[in-house]
């Protein structure tokens, strides 16, 4: 508890230092969908009577617009305090997930989990940059935590709220539905298909859809018309804004011909969405693990990632200590991440600060980052698959899972 408190205080101290001033517009920590400056702009426009969605600048969801123009003014200091609070809540919720999964409490383990979230540099710097991806992470972990605790309606509401700002999170619905129907306990070592009542599933999905419709209605009320959908969700799906970020999409879309644009949009969207069904089916015995893997997949392939998305995935591995022995290449993954984390800001500065490099440098660094995330994702998937088989016995080889 003391460690947790001191980490939060450390986060708060960093937030009020001059460091964040250099980070607000950093394109690795923020994206056009999550940038703090764009949020301020949108709130200003709304408060002065203009339609924030008319200018294709503001791409936050209307719910965030509503929140930050009324309850929470987009003042730096207030937001820094709020963001620290969100981080603390997310860390606590992560520990809570583990508690529900293992059924016990162990303050040492919980401290490790909280520290893995609060000390993760990807997450730390994104939070200092006041990027709303911290808000998304908080909602994601909160939704999973509520689902792990069995609270159906709040979990689905949190997921619906998350989908408003991060469209790809709707892919987390199937595993969360299964999680709500079966429970968070670790069943990786005993992969037996759970018995699920269809009525349960139907009820859950119906609840989610209702909450989605309600929130969409509230968003339309805030925005005045339905134009917000094209600017927020439409931006996620059709990638109109090619501001560089740490993802894999932007460089492709800057250099392709318009003729092939829809084809590539289809391919990239397929990359994001195609893992949902297989992961849910394969890990139906442990839907919490499926959720975790899907978070990793989405963060790897989403259209406007920031560093916080893979950061959450990396921090969440602390919830599954039973799988750590089965990871095949944790050290290379860490090395890849360190490599990418060094190169990304370096090449970004070389390209846009110094002017001596070009966008290919930064793109190469994002590719390395993608390899690092892919390595983490694949390793976690492999560990989850191999867990039932235990440690390889001498003389036996595993032919097929």
């Amino acid at each position: 508890m003391a460690t947790f408190g001191s980490l939060v205080v450390l986060r708060l101290l960093l937030a009020f230092s001059p460091i964040p001033n250099y980070l607000y517009d950093n394109q690795q920590l923020t994206s056009p969908l999550t940038s703090y400056t764009r949020l301020k702009e949108g709130v200003f426009l709304l408060q002065n009577g203009f339609d924030p969605y008319a200018g294709q600048l503001f791409r936050h969801s209307p719910i965030q617009l509503a929140l930050f123009s009324t309850v929470m003014p987009p003042n730096k200091y207030v937001l820094h305090a709020f963001w620290t609070l969100l981080d603390a809540a997310t860390a606590w919720n992560l520990a809570n997930i583990w508690k529900k999964r293992s059924g016990t409490t162990d303050w040492r383990r919980e401290t490790i989990i909280q520290a893995s979230y609060l000390l993760n540099p990807y997450l730390l710097f994104t939070s200092l940059a006041l990027s709303t991806s911290t808000l998304d992470n908080a909602l994601c972990v909160y939704a999973i935590s509520l689902a792990a605790s069995g609270k159906r309606a709040p979990a689905l509401f949190a997921l619906a709220l998350l989908t408003q700002s991060s469209l790809y999170s709707v892919l987390l619905l199937p595993p969360i539905v299964l999680l709500l129907c079966t429970g968070p306990a670790s069943r990786l070592k005993t992969p037996i298909a759970p018995s699920i009542r269809i009525s349960d599933v139907g009820r859950t999905v119906f609840t989610f859809v209702t909450y989605m419709l309600v929130l969409m209605g509230i968003s339309t009320l805030v925005a005045g018309n339905l134009g917000w959908m094209k600017e927020t969700w439409g931006a996620t799906l059709t990638v109109p804004d090619l501001t560089p970020n740490v993802g894999l999409w932007w460089y492709f879309f800057t250099e392709m011909f318009d003729h092939f644009r829809s084809f590539f949009l289809m391919v990239f969207t397929a990359l994001v969405t195609i893992a949902m069904i297989p992961l849910t089916i394969k890990f139906q015995h442990d839907p919490l693990y499926a959720t975790y893997l899907l978070v990793g997949n989405i963060s790897l392939f989403k259209s406007y990632p920031t560093m916080a998305d893979p950061g959450l995935f990396l921090s969440m591995i602390s919830i599954f200590p039973e799988l750590w022995p089965y990871l095949r290449h944790p050290l290379p993954t860490v090395m890849w991440h360190m490599y990418a984390a060094t190169l990304l800001p370096l090449f970004n500065n070389l390209w846009l600060g110094h002017g001596t490099g070009n966008s290919n440098f930064f793109y190469a660094a994002t590719l390395v980052f993608g390899v690092a995330n892919g390595a983490a994702f694949l390793d976690s998937t492999w560990a989850g698959l191999i867990a039932p088989y235990g440690k390889p016995k001498q003389g036996y080889t595993l032919l097929q899972i």
């Binding site: 709304l46 203009f50 929140l67 309606a153 709040p154 509401f157 929130l215 509230i218 009320l221 805030v222």
Partner: protein, 390 residues
Amino acid sequence: MVFHFLRRLILFTLFYSFVAAQTQDQVNAASKFLQKDGVQGHTNNWAVLVCSSRYWFNYRHMANTLGMYRTVKRLGIPDSNIIVMLADDVSCNARNKFPATVYSNNRRSIDLYGENIEVDYRGYEVTVENFLRLLTGRVDPSLPRSKRLLTDEKSNIFVYMTGHGGDEFLKFQDNEEISAFDIADAFEQMWQKKRYHEIFFMIDTCQANTMYSKFYSPNILATGSSKLGESSYSHDHDSDVGVAVIDRFTHLVLSHLEGINKTSQATMQQLFDAYNFDHLRSTAGVRTDLFQRDPSKVLLTDFFGGVAQAEVVQSDDVDDARDFARLASSAKPSVVAESQSGKQQKVSTAWMEMGSDRLGELGRNSYGLSRVWASVGLIFGTYAVTRFLF
């Protein structure tokens, strides 16, 4: 029936003639505006300044051209409208005792090279073919804009050439020559393609007047430094630089132009009257038969400067095009408007009024913050409901 038709016809004719008169009025007013004395139909100025000889000892030709460039820029022609062709780079020549400089007098008072010159054709790019292509506009599609002569039928062009010449030829780069016929034909092509309004051709070489003897296109005023059989001489010789730094004819023209500025009403005739044999040691000539205006009515700034005649009229005095033309034709040309600050103030308040009206209307009608507060309440309300639902 017939009476009805006739009445219609009379009315229609009256209406038509009324409208036509109005239109003709406007047309007349507009063309009168464009043809005032002193402006005479040209709307933009260009300069083509060519130095055709290379090597260190032709330093003075480079200095001639750069001096002309400086004067023309000073008098208002922007770099985008000046084409400078320098066949060699004397400022960075190994023999230049004062590197990165070009001087045009032996007191070395002004560095013509400076920090801000824009040379469009340099070194071996200065060829006869490039010069003729530049004039006629028959250039490769890949040629950059800065190297093109983008003139139109309202452009006044000042063409200045210097180098070594002879009877109806000018030497380029020591290995080829352009003849007077070539330039005359190029100008004729330009006339046919409506690429100039008026051309002022000035040439400073030996036997220079022969170069303009073959022109046959209208609206060309030409002057040269020496007649057939005469050489043109250099003026200043600098012992430290080691070569002559300016030619007599160009030196006379430039010193005459140093005395004027953008608002000057000095005429071409005054410049021609300033030619004298004692100074030039050669007979400078002028050709005016192709030029429609009288040189004593042509301002120096019509060719050497890039002066735009702007008249400021108060916006509330103008109801339509007729009023505007009437006011414009009666107002004296002035380069700076005294009432400008007052007008600006009026304009800016109008904008602010318009702006605030629009804001207020939108703020009241469409995006009231009340809706936002209502939606926030709804969000929290829904969350509270979920807490009690399982």
